[in-house]
Structure formats: structure tokens, C-alpha cells
């Protein structure tokens, strides 16, 4: 399986993400440059964390106009697997590839800590290696990670099983007490309608080795690898109510 990781000017997690994929998970990995107008042959693209273009205007708002985002959008529309982590999630929202937006944390402070997350839907190419309802721990590190969206969008996300992770406590209880940034409905990870693009604020790439803290993020990457190998993720619905639908058109805006 071949992975591409985009380096925007100001991307910070690109190197660590590439290390995890190539050295820990043994994947073929290449770096993509923000000024490129074309992509090589790829199976999954990651938009990594960081502060693209300094994020001085609004997180991700400059990056969405960079040359690479043209082919990335086409890749999404063609059904390719795309993972946006932290700043990558913000960029996908700014680009309209994922619904909603990420705004300043409720505390107005940057927050770096490990959080508990409840896995809400495991019937996706990104999460099928987790157990439904399982509580995992991943780090978050962001100043603008409060997820907001209109009531209609939130309802659609709920209905279609597109909220994959929610901030929770150690017992899996979701509520204001376990919401680190003020996200609506404690949303930490959102899937697009077609089910091939995931944006999340927590950092699975910093939770793949016991030495550096936790392995709870590893199964997210393993899910993608296995989904790709089996082609299972293409089977829309998988027979369940909350399954991943594959509508003819992608995009939500």
C-alpha cells in the first residue's frame, strides 16, 4: 500500500507520521510538496498536523488554496482514502471536503494532553479494528479544535454514523466534564458522506509505540491497511443501518 503525506509550509507532524508509516508499520511512504499540481500513484493521502502557512488567518484557510489541494480534492472525489489529522482536519473543513469547522478551544488556551475517546462507529475503513463503544487514549494538541456545525449537519452526521470518535471519560461517559475543547456533541472525528475521508483532531500517529506512551492509535492505521488490502471498505453499507454509504457525489458544501 502506498501512502503520500503532504508537507505544507508549516506542517509539523509530517516527519513523525512518515516515520510511523514507513518504519513502524513497514509501509511504502512518499512526501508530497504543497506546490505540486500532480500526485503520484497513491492509495492513501494524509494531511498532517502543524500550522500550515503559519495559520495566521484562520487554521487551514490558506492551505486549501495551495496547488496540491487540486489533485487531493480529485483523489477524494474518486473515492481515494484521505486522512486529515489536526491541521489536516482543519484544512479539509476549510476546503469543504468535510462539513463543519474547527474554532478556538473554549478555554482560549492551547491544550496538549492525552484524552479518552469513545469509538462510535467501527464500520468504516478507518476504525474497523476497534470494538464499537471501546474507549481509547490518544493525545490532542491544538488551540483551535472545537468542532462546530449547523444543527442539520450534526443530525446528519449522527444519523449516518459519521461521528467516529467522541471525547469521553475513562468509563466512556460523554459530557461537558470530558470535553477538552468545547466541541459540539463532543465530536473528535468526522467522516465524509462517501466514507473515504476522515478528519480528526486527536493524533493517532503519536500513539503507535509503547515507548512513547501508547499504542491505541496503531489500529487506526492497521484498519486502513487491511481495508485497502481486502477492498472491503468499498462495500457500501456492509448491511448495517449505520454503515458507510457510497453516494455518487462526494462533498457536503
Amino acid at each position: 500500500m502506498k501512502w503520500g503525506i503532504v508537507t505544507f509550509p508549516g506542517s509539523n507532524d509530517d516527519r513523525a507520521t512518515a516515520r510511523v508509516l514507513s518504519r513502524v508499520l513497514g509501509q511504502e511512504t512518499c512526501m508530497l510538496w504543497h506546490k505540486d499540481y500532480r500526485l503520484p500513484e497513491l492509495d492513501c493521502i494524509i494531511l498532517p498536523g502543524g500550522f500550515s502557512y503559519g495559520d495566521y488567518l484562520r487554521c487551514g484557510s490558506m492551505a486549501r488554496f495551495s496547488p496540491i489541494m487540486g489533485p487531493v480534492r480529485e483523489f477524494c472525489e474518486a473515492g481515494g482514502l484521505v486522512l486529515g489529522i489536526c491541521n489536516g482536519f482543519q484544512i479539509l473543513c476549510e476546503a469543504g471536503i468535510l462539513p463543519g469547522a474547527l474554532i478556538r478551544n473554549r478555554s482560549l488556551l492551547f491544550v496538549c494532553q492525552r484524552v479518552h475517546l469513545k469509538v462510535e462507529n467501527t464500520d468504516t475503513p478507518f476504525t474497523h479494528r476497534y470494538r464499537a463503544g471501546e474507549v481509547i487514549r490518544l493525545p490532542i494538541k491544538h488551540g483551535e479544535g472545537a468542532y462546530v456545525a449547523s444543527e442539520e449537519v450534526l443530525e446528519a452526521l449522527e444519523r449516518e454514523g459519521r461521528i467516529l470518535l467522541r471525547y469521553a471519560d475513562a468509563d466512556g461517559q460523554v459530557g461537558p466534564h470530558s470535553n477538552p475543547n468545547g466541541s459540539m456533541r463532543s465530536i473528535a472525528a468526522v467522516l465524509n458522506e462517501r466514507g473515504n475521508v476522515l478528519g480528526l483532531m486527536p493524533h493517532p500517529e503519536y500513539a503507535v509505540e509503547t515507548l512513547t506512551g501508547s499504542e491505541d492509535g496503531r489500529r487506526l492505521f492497521l484498519s486502513i491497511i487491511e481495508a485497502h488490502a481486502s477492498g472491503a471498505w468499498r462495500r457500501a453499507g456492509r448491511g448495517s443501518q449505520n454503515g458507510v454509504q457510497a453516494p455518487p457525489e462526494a462533498g457536503n458544501r
Binding site: P9, A16, F51, L109, F110, C112, Q113, R114, K141, G213
Partner: protein, 742 residues
């Protein structure tokens, strides 16, 4: 235009120094030359008050590849790798403008590290503020922490540790000391020398603006008065995004092999970077100031020479390879312009529109800059400076004392601060903030480095010599408690006005303390920084040396953390407790006194303790290790119960040490002690190690339950301890902010 004595005085030079300028040049200096002299001869750049004494410090060792005098120190860690590290102060700017002052402090130290060819992998910082309830502290604390966080997070270098300390002595002079460590392959280590006559000087990074002019000469090298706010325009403004691009581009350029030397434009900007590189190369430089990229029109050559605009570097490139290097900077959308060349003249020469505006012998600006053996005098001993245990009432309620200590500003959890720092980015952080030292793995090897950044204002105030010894010993102990062998230190020496004999005496005592401790522990000083003039309206700070200690783990898998791991493990105290409460937090928080005597310390005993801990760590028999420091044994035990990074708290049942007054046993700060936990079956092995090194050991009790019980004195549920300790700082800061808003 010629510069007069009056102008020289305005620039911060003395009359004698102005005469020396006349003598060096054999004529009256131009205004530009006066600016160059005032910057290069400032305390900040020339170390004129400290240089002679700094020679006392041990700076070499078998693993030291580069000692002081470069952008940063370098220590070989084997397998072809070296660690590059340094600490630097940004005290004055951070008091005047906390957010930008602290942010640009981080930016400056990062550039010092990647100027050596190393990729920065970890930052730490040591912060000292006034009393937490001082009206300005909240604003300064929030600004400094946000400045450090925003800059470091954005550049993508993790902030993994440090210290935060509150004391009224810093009410009007806060200390912001920033440390960064980088990793480099030994064969691609760079030095900042302008070598090779004819090689071009390439200016890269941000354009030059009017910010920060006189930062080195007027802001950092003079004390504050009542209108220090007016100095705000001398504080630079940081742009972490440009820094990130500059770092990536410089590291890429270094990889081409086309560079000869590289240096940050820090304090005194283009002037000091060009002059210092020329000095190290034994050469001269010629600069065309018109070629320097400028942010605004109408700038004068004087301003271009002295601007401290951030995120700029000066490279010496192999002649003929300019285009190759320029193309890398163009890829990263950064300016890269040839602004001069290396000459064989030994002179610092700058031109503007074809006219020479400065022509000065390089040596006069560097090695032959003024150096003063300033007068020193020990201050008169204060009466009853020593606390007597006999005169202090023994606490009625030890539970209450423990809770008050844990919730006090200097002992409570620092989570409110470090939560604002990205400690993950890069992916190599093994131990994050909240243990004795930060630990990072050295990628591609089994090894790891442990880093501690620490000082102790109170011991240093009471006895600068012993205080400095303890600062080094405690830094080493922190690193040892992580399972790492101490390698070398960097230090930041923060003092008052060196023109006062008492301050120079404190400085001298501190240097001797550092020298003796570093020799005894085998940790040379490889880099550092001196910050004088931390005074406002004649009132100076206590002597405050801050020690950045770096240690090496041969196998990072054997690293240790301070928190208890499992029920049933045995808790052991290594080292001897004495009836010592002088200079302790207990004496200050509970009895309101800052008095000596400072604790006794013997560096041989200290070293023996390190041997025991390191041998036990290597054998894999220790489950946790924690330095017994501020707050004494009781606070150290509570921290081991509460601080696990997975949020799981474990209680402890221990006996109080007999033979000492209970408050001294629980809260005294006797040195060279650690608490460790281990499986019961390994106890004999530890006993044997202690016997061999003659380190006293005492089995205190056992890990377990959900209470902390210490003899008949303390019995508290962990929940209560946690509530006192965990949120205390946040409650104070946020609570005050709410009041301020209302």
C-alpha cells in the same frame, strides 16, 4: 557623521570605553561605528564583567566536541551522533513585553541549535515570576507561557519540561531562560566561522526592519527604572512560521555541503553575527548594507547594522555554490541574498551606497573587547539569618501542612503551564513534563537523552556557593532518577548589576560552586549565558544560576519515572536525612521565614547515590525513582502517588524516620536523597548496591491503597491530595483572570 562622547554615553558606553574606541580607530568614530561598538561591547554581547571569571569553569571532557564560544555546546553520544544544546536568557524583553519577549527567546535559542547543523528535538524553559498574588504576575505568566507555547508549537519542536517558580524577589525582574537540544551526525556538525577569503556571505530569512534596535545595548545591559515600559519598542517581534521555514531550509542547505559557516543574527543582529564569524575565522568581512533585504524604505545604514529583526541567518557559502544554496531558500519562499564576502583584512567593513560607514579591526570587537575584573565584596551577614528548629513551633496538624504545601505556588502541579506546550511533536518524547527529567529517544539507536532544567533561588540567596553546588547536584540527580548518566551542563547565570561589589561577589561564589560541582560530578560546562542587570530601581534579584543538565541512557527502554507503578512494591529512601529545614519551602510556606543554614552537601556522597541508582536502573530492578527536593520527603512521596501520566494514582503506607523532629523528617530538604520503589524480591540486590557504595538506605513502606499514610503524622485520601495539588495553579491564575475581567 562623527560621534561625540555625549552620543557614546547615550549608547551605553562609558567615557573610558569611548576613549578606547578613539584609540583603536585612531580617529573619531562614525555614528555607525559607535553603534557597532556599543552593541559589541555591551555586557550582553561581550561578557565584559563575567569573561575573566568564566574561565574558572571546567569546559572539556572526553566526550565534549565543542565547549563554550560557539552557538551551542556539543557532546558526543556515540554511534556517530552528538547532542547540541544551550540555554539563553530573555529576561528583560519578557518583562517589558511578555508574549513577544518569551516567544523570541525561544526563536533565538532554536536558531543557535540549527546553526550548528543540528535538528532541534526538545525545548525546556526555566521561568521565575514575582509572587503569584502580585498584580502584574498574572499578566506576565499568561503572556510568557502563551509566547513560549505559540512559538514552540508552531515551529514544531516539543517543549518537554522546565520549571516555574514564584517569589516576591522577582516581582519587577522576571526570568525567562530558554533551553533547546538538537541532534546532529558528528560528521555534519557546523561551526560559525567565516573561513575562506573571497567566500560570499549569504543573508537568509526575514527582511530587516526597525525592530529591536538597541535590544542588546540598552535593554539587556541596563537595569530598569520607573519607565521601563518605554523600552517596549526595543523588543523584537517573532514569526514562528518563518522560523520553521528557515530551520528546514538551513538544514537542507547544510546537507548540500556547500556551506562553510552559519550563524544566527541574534542580539546586535547583522553586526554581531558578521563580526563574530570573522573573529572565529581569523578573517575580516565586508558588508554591502544596501544589499540587505529591508522591510521598509528609508532605513539608514545605522538601523540595518543594529536591527534585531528575528528569523535571520548569515551563511558563509563556498564561492561558486551560491546558486545551489539560493535555490533551496527559494523553494522555501525565503530571501537569500549575497550581502558581502570574507576578506583577509581582519577588519569589519561596511559600505552604504559605495561609501564606507564602518571600518573597525575585528579583534577590537571580539577577543579584545573590554573585560573587567570588577570589585567584589561580601555583603554583611544579616542578624539571625539562621533558623533555629528549637524556636519553631511543631505543627499541630501534619495533614494540614501537607495539603498546604502541595497547594502552594512552588509545589503544586505545573499542568496549567505545560498543557499549553506541545510535548508530542516529533514523536521522540518518552517522558513528558511531570517527572524529574524529560526523556527523549535518539531515533535509529537504542539510546535516549534525559534533560533537566532547574535552579534553586532560595539556597542561592542564602549561600551562593553552596546554592550553586546544590543546583548542579540536583540537576544531575534529576537526570539520574530517570536512569541516565549525567554528561554535561549548560548554565544561565542570572544576576543583578555587576557594577555593585556584592553582586560580583555573588557571581564569583556561584562560579566557584559551579566549578567544584561540575568537576566532582564529571559534567563539564559546554555552553551558557550570563544575564546581568536584572534590577529595577536599584533592587536586584537574588543570584539565580539555572542548570540545564543532559544525561545519556544507553538503553532508553530502561528509563525511569517518578510515579509509583504497582501495589505491593517496596518504597525505599536512599541517602541520609538530617535535621535541616533552612531554606526549605516548609519554613517559608508554613512559618513565613527565609533563613539558613542551607542543607549540607558532600559531592562524594552525591556521586555514590548516583552510582547506586544507575546500577539499579541498569539492572532493571527499580520501578520508580524520585529526587527528594522542595517540600521534602512528604511532598516527594505525594508526588510519586499522584503524578502518573496515565492518571492512575497509587497510595503509600510508610513509616516516619525516627530520631529526627517529625517536621524536619517530613519536610526538611536534606540533599542527596531519592525515593525509589521496587519489587520486594529485589530488595537484597539494592541493599548490596548500597552497601558497596556506602549509601544509607531505609525501607520506608509499601505502595498500595488509596491513601498516603506517613507514620502517625499523615493520613490523607489521595483524592484530597490530588485536589490540593493538581488544580492549584490553574485556580489561582484563572480565578484572578475572572476577577480582572469583572
Amino acid at each position: 557623521m562623527e560621534a561625540s562622547l555625549e552620543q557614546a554615553l547615550e549608547h551605553g558606553l562609558t567615557e573610558g570605553e569611548y576613549r578606547k574606541v578613539l584609540e583603536v580607530l585612531g580617529r573619531v568614530p562614525s555614528l555607525e561605528e559607535l553603534g557597532v561598538f556599543s552593541a559589541m561591547w555591551s555586557e550582553h554581547c561581550s561578557y565584559k564583567s563575567s569573561r575573566l571569571l568564566l574561565r574558572e569553569l571546567p569546559t572539556s571532557g572526553p566526550h565534549v566536541l565543542q565547549g563554550p564560544g560557539e552557538n551551542a555546546g556539543v557532546v558526543d553520544v556515540g554511534e556517530g551522533l552528538a547532542v547540541v544544546f544551550k540555554i539563553e536568557s530573555h529576561n528583560h524583553p519578557s518583562f517589558v513585553e511578555p508574549y513577544q519577549g518569551a516567544a523570541t527567546g525561544v526563536g533565538g535559542i532554536l536558531r543557535d541549535i540549527f546553526a550548528m547543523g543540528a535538528r532541534p528535538v526538545a525545548s525546556l524553559n526555566s521561568l521565575r515570576f514575582g509572587a503569584l498574588d502580585h498584580p502584574r504576575t498574572n499578566y506576565l505568566l499568561r503572556g510568557v507561557v502563551a509566547g513560549i507555547g505559540d512559538y514552540g508549537n508552531s515551529v514544531g519542536v516539543p517543549t518537554v519540561g522546565g520549571e516555574v517558580y514564584f517569589d516576591p524577589a522577582y516581582d519587577r525582574n522576571i526570568l525567562v531562560n530558554a533551553f533547546t537540544l538538537g541532534i546532529v551526525r558528528v560528521d555534519s556538525l557546523y561551526r560559525a566561522a567565516a573561513a575562506g577569503v573571497g567566500n560570499p556571505l549569504l543573508y537568509v530569512g526575514s527582511k530587516t526592519g526597525r525592530d529591536g534596535i538597541h535590544g542588546a545595548s540598552l535593554l539587556a545591559s541596563a537595569e530598569f527604572d520607573s519607565d521601563s515600559d518605554k523600552k517596549r519598542p526595543t523588543v523584537q517581534v517573532g514569526d514562528p512560521f518563518t522560523e520553521k521555514l528557515l530551520m528546514e531550509a538551513c538544514l537542507e542547505a547544510i546537507g548540500t555541503g556547500s556551506l562553510v559557516g552559519i550563524q544566527d543574527m541574534g542580539a546586535a543582529g547583522l553586526t554581531s553575527s558578521a563580526a563574530e564569524m570573522a573573529g572565529r575565522g581569523g578573517n575580516g568581512v565586508e558588508l554591502d548594507l544596501c544589499a540587505v533585504p529591508k522591510r521598509e524604505s528609508g532605513m539608514t545604514p545605522y538601523e540595518v547594522l543594529l536591527s534585531e529583526s528575528q528569523e535571520r541567518m548569515l551563511l558563509v557559502v563556498k564561492a561558486g555554490e551560491e546558486e545551489k544554496v539560493k535555490s533551496i531558500f527559494s523553494k522555501w519562499d525565503l530571501d537569500a541574498v549575497v550581502v558581502g564576502r570574507v576578506t583577509g583584512s581582519g577588519r569589519f567593513r561596511a559600505t552604504w551606497e559605495g561609501r564606507v560607514v564602518a571600518d573597525i579591526p575585528v579583534a577590537a570587537l571580539t577577543t579584545e573587547a573590554p573585560a573587567y575584573a570588577r570589585p567584589r565584596a561580601q555583603p554583611a551577614e544579616e542578624e539571625s539569618a539562621e533558623a533555629s528548629l528549637g524556636k519553631l513551633p511543631e505543627p499541630m496538624d501534619y495533614n494540614d501542612v501537607v495539603l498546604r504545601l502541595l497547594g502552594s505556588p512552588n509545589l503544586c502541579s505545573r499542568e496549567w503551564v505545560y498543557r499549553q506546550y506541545d510535548s508530542y511533536v516529533g514523536g521522540d518524547t518518552v517522558v513528558r513534563p511531570g517527572s524529574d527529567a524529560a526523556v527523549l529517544r535518539l531515533d535509529d539507536t537504542k539510546k535516549g537523552v534525559a534533560i533537566s532544567l532547574d535552579g534553586n533561588s532560595r539556597f542561592c540567596r542564602l549561600d551562593p556557593y553552596v546554592g550553586a553546588v546544590i543546583a548542579v547536584a540536583e540537576g544531575a540527580r534529576n537526570v539520574v532518577a530517570s536512569g541516565a548518566r549525567p554528561l554535561a551542563i549548560t548554565n544561565c547565570l542570572n544576576f543583578g548589576n555587576p557594577e555593585k561589589p556584592q553582586v560580583m561577589w555573588q557571581f564569583e561564589e556561584t562560579i566557584y560552586g559551579l566549578r567544584d560541582a561540575c568537576r566532582a560530578l564529571g559534567t563539564p560546562v559546554v555552553s551558557g549565558n550570563v544575564s546581568f542587570y536584572n534590577e529595577t530601581e536599584g533592587q536586584g534579584i537574588p543570584p539565580t544560576p539555572v542548570i540545564g543538565m543532559v544525561g545519556l541512557l544507553e538503553d532508553v527502554g530502561f528509563h525511569l519515572t517518578q510515579w509509583f507503578k504497582e501495589e505491593g512494591d517496596v518504597i525505599v529512601l536512599l541517602g541520609r536525612s538530617r535535621e535541616e529545614i533552612g531554606g526549605s519551602e516548609y519554613l517559608h510556606v508554613i512559618h513565613g521565614e527565609i533563613k539558613g543554614p542551607v542543607p549540607w552537601i558532600d559531592l562524594k556522597v552525591e556521586k555514590a547515590l548516583h552510582s547506586v541508582c544507575l546500577a539499579a536502573a541498569r539492572d532493571g530492578i527499580l520501578r520508580s525513582a524520585h529526587d527528594v527536593a522542595e517540600g521534602g520527603l512528604a511532598v516527594a512521596l505525594a508526588e510519586s502517588c499522584l503524578s502518573a501520566d496515565n492518571g492512575v494514582m497509587l497510595g503509600a503506607r510508610v513509616e516516619a524516620e525516627a530520631g529526627l523532629r517529625p517536621d524536619a523528617a517530613l519536610f526538611g530538604e536534606s540533599q542527596s536523597r531519592m525515593i525509589v520503589s521496587l519489587r520486594r524480591r529485589h530488595l537484597n540486590q539494592l541493599r548490596e548496591l548500597c552497601r558497596r557504595e556506602q549509601v544509607p538506605m531505609l525501607v520506608l513502606g509499601e505502595v498500595g491503597g488509596n491513601r498516603l499514610e506517613i507514620g502517625e503524622y499523615v493520613d490523607l485520601p489521595l483524592k484530597h491530595l490530588y485536589e490540593s495539588w493538581k488544580g492549584a495553579l490553574g485556580r489561582q491564575v484563572e480565578g484572578r483572570a475572572r476577577v480582572a475581567v469583572a
